[in-house]
Symmetry: C2
Subunit: 375 residues, 2 copies
């Protein structure tokens, strides 16, 4: 193997790879990047067995071949090099030599044949979606996914085809058992998600990161089989192993009888929660809503520091009601509601509260649910 590549091009590719390759792993080759020469290009592959990515870079190939070296170390070296051409040549015992300007590096490698191969994909199965659409759906759900190892089937985002209202829609749902976020968007069908797939949190976050990086390309090609999701943006490929488990019956959690409806200015509500939550206890983060006709009083109490309260005027004619919610969950949900106003729907102090954008779509295209708490 012998090739030349520009520093900037190489760094761009290594930056994506090194972020997913394993750091602490018992299998050393998973900390490596596979360098493979292609036709007038260099292929970089990295995987932690959960996520695999492959990037095609422009390079001048003098001699074909492949090598496997530490992704993190190669990234650290290339980052420090001047903006010049880098020359890489394979030597004996899987070592490579890297030259750039007056610098020379010899890097220890492993047998590239030991590098795990990525799952095979079928080019004809890919469906195209706008990057902005997939990106938005991930952003508006992933924050609600669980991070606990014990509930691995909640550590991801459910992605499925949905036909409510007669239109083809894509749906994403995430929940950690305390709150839930759901979004529907009209789009063409995506192969393999008729019954729903659970994409792990780390996978959707990496997908989102790559889409931000490659936003200019505009579209992402995607499909799923029984075990993996496949995503292509331009010449970049990402493969994510799906979570094998049953997603909870989230539709049973969506409240149907929340008859107490209050519309609030989103920014004022958010800032009020930030102020009042300074006095919420760090463990439970609870804020109490005392809803009366034409006003809500938000309050919190902290055993060590004191208490806080603030009133907002609202249009509300129903019966008085006290209910508590986790303030952080509310604020994280408000963060992903784009409308100027937000609709809060509550039933009673023991039932989940629901928030939606204003005006609310019918059928709903975005729902945030937060479980109540005793305060």
């Amino acid at each position: 193997m012998n090739f030349e590549i520009e520093k900037k091009e190489f760094l761009r590719g290594l930056n994506l790879i090194q972020s997913i390759t394993g750091r602490k792993t018992t299998l050393p080759i998973l900390t490596h990047v596979l360098l493979e020469t292609g036709k007038g290009c260099l292929l970089l592959t990295g995987t932690d067995l959960e996520i695999g990515i492959r990037e095609e870079l422009t390079a001048k190939i003098h001699e074909e071949g492949k090598s496997s070296v530490s992704a993190k170390k190669l990234y650290e070296i290339v980052r420090e090099l001047p903006d010049q051409t880098i020359q890489i040549q394979k030597k004996e015992n899987h070592w490579i030599t890297l030259r750039c300007g007056k610098s020379l590096f010899n890097m220890a490698g492993l047998d590239p044949e030991e590098f795990p191969s990525l799952p095979v994909f079928q080019d004809e199965h890919f469906c195209e979606l706008p990057i902005s659409l997939l990106s938005e759906m991930i952003e508006k759900t992933v924050f609600a996914a669980a991070s606990e190892e014990s509930r691995y089937h909640l550590n991801g985002v459910l992605f499925l085809q949905n036909k409510e209202g007669g239109k083809e829609r894509l749906r994403m749902v995430a929940t950690d058992g305390h709150r839930l976020s759901l979004i529907d968007r009209e789009a063409q069908k995506v192969r393999g998600i008729e019954k729903g797939v659970i994409i792990p949190k780390k996978g959707v976050l990496e997908m989102k990161k790559v889409m931000v990086d490659k936003e200019g390309i505009g579209t992402v090609a995607i499909y799923f089989d029984a075990t993996h999701g496949f995503m292509k943006i331009g010449k970049f490929l990402m493969i994510v192993r799906l979570i094998d488990g049953d997603f909870p019956e989230y539709q049973q959690v969506i409240p149907k009888e929340n008859d107490k409806k209050i519309t609030l200015n989103k920014d004022n509500f958010y800032r009020c929660l930030r102020r009042v939550s300074t006095m919420a206890s760090e463990r439970v983060e609870g804020v109490k809503f005392s809803i009366k006709s034409n006003g809500i009083e938000f309050s919190s109490y902290n055993q060590d520091f004191g208490d806080a309260r603030e009133e907002m005027e609202v249009v509300y004619e129903g019966p008085s009601l006290d209910v508590g919610f986790n303030s952080r969950y509310l604020m994280e949900a408000l963060n992903i509601i784009d409308s100027e106003e937000v609709l809060i729907e509550i039933k009673d102090e023991g039932s989940p509260g629901m928030m939606r954008p204003v005006p609310p779509a019918d059928p709903p295209d975005q729902i945030c649910i937060v479980m109540p708490m005793r305060i």
Copy 2:
């Protein structure tokens, strides 16, 4: 106690206080800020017993008095408030009530009489120095101070009056036993540092931070007694408890016979070290200098990843020499040398190396020393 203060003014003062008040402390009042009304002003005081600070803020006083509440919590609350007037009133049991817009906070307090009093200072003892000068001297030494609890007399910066060359100079020196940084600057005498005082690292770093914050004021007033340093910038006061110990005989460490002199372009040298040090082992961070006539080869070796080398052309006619240094120490020293070129002075592979700005002053006004290492 009853006063009104603008949110921005209050936040500015609390920001300085909350950065020094203790977080994990067995004495709860050390996590507090003391609020005291003065003549048309509010005094804020905070201390962790090592550092004490007092700030005077513009406020409208309706009723005199003092209170003590959690500095961190008060800062968190004020940060979230709208840009409006805040009204604070003392209630029973040392509680205070804070009102702003539609928000109301009740904060638990402690008896303000229990708040430790700051050491007393003598206004006539202060000497004025340019903020830029004191700031520069701290920046160019503090990085070399130790951070190990076991060597507490090295965990600070030596500050003393120096008369070398017949001129009145201020000197700062810091060392962790592996490297040393010294700077001299011409300035008027400062009271109390004839024999030298050791200011703890945390103290000089807080002094530096405040000086950056208040750079516009231009001058800082300062003096020392046997146990404390006193610093005033405008109406801001900081008192730092000095380290009670003997600073090492640093002058014996300054090499006198380093006859091998090499001048290098500072930026090229720095970037070369960054590249070569990517292959230095994480524990020892060593880079080898192989000095030959008209060239230095820098190299490093890592048991896991491989090796690196790079040559720089230099004007050098002496005997060949191999010597190793910690690359991070060299780079941190280069960071605080302002000249375009740097002079390296070496004796042999077992003696400390010295770096100075170019052209070097006589007597020297800045010296960085790095101990050699076997590589």
